[in-house]
Subunit: 333 residues, 2 copies
Amino acid sequence: MTTGREQYIIGVDLGGTNIVAGALTLDGTKHLAMRSIPTNSAAGDEAVAERIVGLVEGVFLDAISETGATRHDFVGIGVGAPGPLDRERGIVLVAPNLGWKDFPLRDRIQGRLRLPTTLDNDANCATFGEWWQGSARGGRNVIGLTIGTGIGGGLILEGALFHGASDMAGEIGHTTIDLNGRHCKCGNYGCLEAYASGPAIATRAREVLVREESASMMPSMVGGKLDGITAQTVYDAAKAGDQVANEIVRDTARYLGAGIANLLNTFNPDTVVVAGGVTAAGDALFVPLRAEVRRRAFMPAVRAVRIVSGTLPGSAGVVGAVASFKQQHMGGV
Amino acid sequence: MTTGREQYIIGVDLGGTNIVAGALTLDGTKHLAMRSIPTNSAAGDEAVAERIVGLVEGVFLDAISETGATRHDFVGIGVGAPGPLDRERGIVLVAPNLGWKDFPLRDRIQGRLRLPTTLDNDANCATFGEWWQGSARGGRNVIGLTIGTGIGGGLILEGALFHGASDMAGEIGHTTIDLNGRHCKCGNYGCLEAYASGPAIATRAREVLVREESASMMPSMVGGKLDGITAQTVYDAAKAGDQVANEIVRDTARYLGAGIANLLNTFNPDTVVVAGGVTAAGDALFVPLRAEVRRRAFMPAVRAVRIVSGTLPGSAGVVGAVASFKQQHMGGV
């Protein structure tokens, strides 16, 4: 059915705090009606599903009024959600941040909006989005890390999103970099996430400030209450030249560099894209990170890769959810 | 050209100590004329290439006399060699165990034997062989570890051998499991290989025996000369009930378990195949190894995987070199 009219796919990125949605043209180049609402996860799974439906209805109306499209010009909906999940059955198996267990999100949305709908992992979608329309464009074997409250990951291998045997591939935040290291909330010890997630960065900063007398500006930035220190406090202080904060950022780079070097020696990717709040530290992060990767990985793998910052903050998940819909329903992106 | 006659591919596995070769039917089910000679790497790259040519000529003759085939029934030669290498150009870039640098092995063999020839990494081939004809059969996403002097690895993703951007994928032995850990001969710290390779197992045994007075039988097994302890000494002593040796095997399982758990959380494979001398320890290794993986990896990834011992000792590399020829020249295995 080629009508000559432009067609659209809706992307939805469901997070613990916000839901973001928007419409993309099939080729991904035009982004329309991007909008965001709070998740309100306390209201429960069914209520959140209804919020998604309402948000998507709003995207339809906006996109239609922006373009003159009709409802028939929308071919489907791609949804990115926290995992683990079962793509084939469209079920979110466990989502601690949402308080969900075995929730059939895909069918709820498909049933209400009467459009083909797909489900995929949110970190997979973020990586897929950066590959399709962002800084990882042109890559064939791409690894994405999204660093926030946790560290999510996604793998694109031979140009397709890789899911593994049970949709669990890409849990890069939960790879061990120190066998006997810090306890991680996943139960394991020494996970990358226990060192380099936003909360882990803040924890390491507080530990240093409690332990050492220093001239750091960080305590005064939070009114003397060390509990108020977040990763953002560290990036801001580092940018202002604070030595302690810069050391924390360098350590973060070292941990991330070790984790990324493991991925280079295992996957030999052409592109690694790092996204999330931590990239706000800019060169203060990326320069020592690349140096650590060079130190730890094999040279032919180092030479083959570019390590870049994500360029679609806020929308990578939506763009990637659309790409995932295309991969699952239209045979490729 | 379907003549109705059986066709054959030759596989070659070039190691630092021995060269193994044999002929397989296209479907891989019949293995013919398997034979092995010493590598004699001291003679230099050209001389080793000639030894391979001579070995393959012998395989031709044997296979022909066994089957009544003619030279025209052989469609090509697959070679597995230590890496890093450049598959497309057929060049071994660096092989420390052979003393090679930038040696065009594929064209040397192809030029002399006048049959299409392919080159691939030896650890990739070993994994591919176990997948095609051994214990990893039926898997779609398979990770192989071959534990000997080093720890080699291979990845089969969506049913095809995965090489990465520059043929470096699968260097699992050189993934960091302890950021500040043992120095590895690759220059990095805390690599899996620095803990769980054959020589690393022997080193850890010697360290314990030097440090602690114990009732271990290992010193007497090597005439009191601790330098004589090898990984095999440890497996033999463990089998005989030696406590110290069993502790070394359990630690090995712990290190390998951490490395494999990282692979589960990253790739979510359906099969992990462990091959090489270390598997001689049997359940003493595999029981605690599986337990460590369960402790460290996510349950949906643990449930999706089987962790098995290789079943083609000695021939996995040859079988996999044939499979790699098929993938590169015949569009699939």
